[in-house]
């Protein structure tokens, strides 16, 4: 998708600003020249971009293996679904609520496990994601609708005034959120917070001995990542108008992981490329749907062999974007 170049370096196309302008222009024109089907493809690209960005905080910036990210996504989606269908709260108002709910959930479940390292943390997060999914299937307090999920979620609106009810509006909603997220994350990368995250990824002991509160910044990354996944969950729930546990499987978490690894850990343009690959490949490979997983597997193996840093690794130092 064109937008994957939005943070691009302009070396190949003249100035960086020029490229950025062209991408933004293409982004605005695109939905008016293609049909609903292709707009929806671009919408799901946006959802995966947002989810990739959210996991990138935890996995890319801090280097924490989180294979249960779909759990946070689910918390966001179900928060919106339940509060909207049961209490009629407008979906757009629930956007921050879903973010806070997922962030709070991350704080509660990650506090006791945050000191675990590498593979150990990875395994616990897999368990966390699965527990969320199984809990949703078991229909606690008759809230989640069991395996069928929750139906009849409204269009995003602010109580009837501003209603997002067509693919093109959804397209602009998700990409506005993605754009704002990117701006926020780029600023975080270039701040005390982003540097602290990177230091922890590089060497946890040295980070602590340089004055960084390792535990605090790891938890912060999990909470922010979960909150963004919660936002994605909110938009996803209203787009599909229903949520069910099968949308939040371990496989989804693996996909998010692939998005970050394909693009390059800690690289925002990389995440966009990764999200494009994950959401567009299945469309391109539709005639070979049977072999889709095989293509994925081969692509990942080749990536790890020939470009372990990702397609677009983050550059540092002079001239880095």
């Amino acid at each position: 998708m064109e937008s994957s170049r939005s943070q691009g370096s302009g070396r190949f196309f003249g100035s960086r600003q020029g490229t950025l302008m062209a991408v933004v222009a293409a982004f605005f024109i695109y939905p008016f020249v293609v049909g609903d089907y292709h707009i929806d493809i671009a919408f799901f690209f946006g959802i995966y971009a947002l989810l990739g960005l959210s996991l990138n905080i935890v996995l890319g910036e801090v280097g924490l293996f989180d294979l249960g990210h779909a759990g946070f996504y689910a918390i966001g989606a179900y928060t919106t679904a339940i509060l909207n269908t049961k209490y009629g709260i407008p979906v757009l108002l629930l956007l921050p609520v879903s973010a806070v709910a997922a962030g709070l959930f991350a704080y509660l479940v990650c506090s006791p496990i945050i000191h675990l390292r590498g593979d150990y943390l990875c395994i616990v997060t897999i368990g966390m994601g699965e527990i969320v999914r199984l809990a949703l299937i078991n229909n606690p307090l008759d809230l989640t609708g069991g395996p069928n999920g929750v139906f009849g979620i409204d269009f995003p609106s602010l109580g009837g005034i501003f209603v997002i009810d067509s693919p093109i509006k959804y397209y602009f909603l998700i990409w506005t959120v993605v754009a704002l997220t990117i701006i926020g994350l780029l600023r975080l990368q270039k701040s005390r917070i982003g540097r602290a995250w990177n230091c922890i990824r590089e060497d946890e002991v040295a980070a602590g001995s340089s004055g960084i509160d390792v535990r605090h910044y790891k938890l912060l990354a999990f909470m922010l990542g979960a909150a963004l996944a919660g936002v994605a969950g909110n938009i996803y729930a209203s787009k599909l108008m229903c949520v069910s546990p099968e949308s939040f499987t371990f496989w989804e978490s693996c996909l998010f992981f692939c998005i970050v690894l394909i693009g390059g850990m800690g690289s925002i343009p990389g995440v966009l490329i990764g999200a494009a690959a994950i959401s567009l490949f299945p469309e391109i490979l539709r005639p070979f749907a049977m072999y889709r997983m095989m293509f994925f597997g081969i692509a990942m193996i080749l990536m790890m062999m020939f470009r372990p840093g990702g397609v677009w690794p983050r550059k540092r130092g002079e001239g880095a974007p």
């Binding site: 005390r192 917070i193 590089e202 060497d203 602590g208 001995s209 340089s210 004055g211 002079e318």
Partner: protein, 260 residues
Amino acid sequence: MNGSSPAVLETRNLTKIFGGLTAVGRFDLEVRQGEILSLIGPNGAGKTTVFNVVTGIYRPEEGQVLFRGEDITGWKPHQIVKRGVARTFQNIRLFPNMTCLENVVAGQHSRGASGVWSSIFRTRSQRVEESRFFEKADRCIDRVGLSRFRNELAKNVPYGRQRMLEIARALACEPALLVLDEPSSGLNAVETEELMRFLEDLIREDALTILLIEHDMNVVMGISHRVAVMEEGRKISEGRPEEIYRDPRVIEAYLGKEEN
């Protein structure tokens, strides 16, 4: 060095046990304001363990660590840094995939307060803080003579320079006490000489206090005001370098007892 200078760092009865092994046992040490104190001893004597307890990486089984009279036993490393103790590591621990400047700026972390929102919205106070951070880091990096490497990734810098970079990062923490674990290891003769002059400058110009572990006896004898000797987790001798040099217990610890 005036013996009546107040203690900056004090350990009392410090004990650290790994499994059944007492790495450090009932260890008392006093580092006085403005001095360079060298901790020496054979390999495995427990010197690095003392450092790790002092800087909060290990929690001692017994005993206390006092910094400027305040009990900092069992504090987290970042809390101890904020109080004014910065360290380096025996086997250099930098942030390899970050630039030298970013490495040094990391040391300034505890001297700032900006959070997520002020960073996202680039508030005035956040921008002021950032420029203060980078000015300070620039001064530290100049000071160790690494200006031309500032935008290089730390892992691409020559070994000897990496040692100095680590010291620059520690200086960026704005410490009162600098704790250096074998700063001269891996340095050549010229670099070692530079390091010694540099440490003396820090004492003279910045009113710092330095505690170091050192194996190079030229460095120990050349710049230390006092020396403490460890063997098997205990302090066996302490005093001025020339006293230590002649102490039969120290000679025995290093060379073994004379057969007779």
